[in-house]
Symmetry: C2
Subunit: 307 residues, 2 copies
């Protein structure tokens, strides 16, 4: 079988050319191509596409701009795919870093300027044999599960359907979310921001956690009631919080979260720009291989639902 | 088969009674016991042991005091076992916490009091597809390997013999240690302190690492030349260092490591007291089960070599 002709734009980045070839594609001019890998936003997109192009791989996880600019609407015979899920591993790694830093009491130790061993000893926790609830079983939640399993934690997953998530000890449907707080040691928020998920973590939920519990939010700030969280941290209701996202965002300079020693704020960088190209390259080679083999593509964009 | 009678001293801690029973033993008086679980140092040890006692499980990983007090020498027919290796998981977890905190640039973010996203972005690394050299393939090194594999890192193990270590991409014998520095992204020191391992990491070795490399030491301070490390950190020769052990120890208050933002010092607490009982309990039930089944015991003390 000859390699499948794939166009790449707007530039011919070496890493992506390699990825196309790894997926058993070959770089081609757009007019001779059956697929297009488009590694940026809508500006300069070849619209309308030549009739030979059956598939377009887009760069972002969220492709709203390709709807609002009409590009997807004007090319109804083309299957678009997004990069949704391609960045899950780096976000999951950041999540694990925040959770471990909290459980092993690193913030106070990073701030210390003297040997405070006896004082710190009792605060050193472990994820081993602990329960970690992951709210949201999408790409990030699923990527995190084997990382937590490797350090001996048990995962309680919460998903819309409650269908068993591989690697989780138990999966609850979101309608049973109320049960989670009293049953877990730590909580990871990895669910999308929707009207239904706004402030799903508030004062009542935090009160049911343990004084040693860490809350990690790497999803969106709106899922956590920030004022309630600040109070819980100030009163040591929970052990701490690791937040890659906040509400509001950016977090203003005078916000109490900056000075709380049991809060770690990382400024929305769990998926940093320099990691994206390599993660996107992995996705490109996977989808080129699937396209070449006639298999189901990853992260197909649905023109009706709009994502 | 009736449960095997095991004595427990000096106190009857519930967690250890349970552990004995989980290993299919039953708590017995010392005079009726075939084994003894001794959960503290030499003070008050039942010496000499009644003739029925064939095996003693000691609490510590290092059992020098039981040699120097003559207890092991006066009971030559008794097999002593130590807790060596029982604490490997918690130390490995701490190691992963330090390495991830470094690679994800958490220290600077914990110190920040304002939203510095563009400045921090380029510093966010990943363990995914990175190489981590583990110097020393004992219990801790081996416990760390699956944790690193779960975040997508490749392990280059260094052991005395160079025999392949399970889960490592490659294992080098210690005589080839020189090759490691230029070939790895990060280094974990997990080897015992001996005259041969003193200052195995010095200026020459640090110079061969990358400006993004993290050095983690959870073994003993003497393995790293602290002055050379401080210079390397001050000049950004490497990315940073996570140190649970230092030389000297405790680290004096005026030491430059306390104020370097690319150094994380945790005061020798990777194996905190409150974690030891549960880890010891795991070892007790494993060894009681082995003793009952007539299998090889874990961490047998050799009266000749003295450990």
């Amino acid at each position: 079988m000859p390699p499948i002709p794939i166009a790449l734009g707007p530039t011919q980045e070496r890493q992506l050319v390699d990825a196309i070839e790894r997926g058993s594609g070959v770089l081609a001019d757009i007019d001779a191509a059956r697929g297009l890998v488009w590694a940026t936003g809508p500006d300069g997109f070849p619209d309308p596409l030549p009739p030979g192009v059956e598939w377009v791989q887009l760069y972002a996880a969220g492709v709203e701009e390709f709807f609002t600019t009409g590009i997807i609407g004007r090319n109804p015979k083309v299957q678009f795919t997004s990069a949704a899920g391609a960045f899950a591993n780096t976000v999951a790694e950041h999540t694990l870093a925040l959770l471990l830093a909290g459980v092993r009491y690193l913030p106070e130790q990073i701030l210390a300027t003297t040997w405070r061993q006896p004082e710190f000893f009792p605060h050193i926790g472990t994820l081993r044999n602990s329960t970690v609830a992951i709210i949201g079983a999408g790409g990030i939640g699923r990527a995190l599960i084997p990382m937590l399993a490797a350090v001996g934690a048990h995962v309680l997953a919460v998903s819309r359907s409650g269908r068993p998530v591989p690697g989780a000890v138990e999966t609850l449907p979101v309608i049973r979310l109320d049960e989670v707080w009293a049953r877990t040691d730590h909580v990871v928020i990895a669910a999308p921001a929707t009207p239904a998920t706004k402030h799903i973590v508030g004062a009542d939920e935090l009160a049911q956690l343990k004084p040693t519990s860490w809350l990690i939010n790497i999803a969106r700030g709106s899922l956590v009631d920030t004022d309630a969280l600040v109070k819980a941290l100030q009163n040591n209701i929970i052990g701490g919080a690791g937040l890659d996202v906040t509400e509001p965002e950016p977090l203003p300079d005078d916000h109490p979260l900056w000075s709380l020693p049991n809060a770690i704020v990382t400024p929305h960088l769990s998926n940093p720009p320099q990691r994206r190209v390599e993660a996107f390259a992995e996705r490109v080679s996977a989808n080129v291989a699937r396209f070449a083999a006639g298999n189901e593509l990853l992260s197909k964009v649905d023109p009706v639902s709009g994502y």
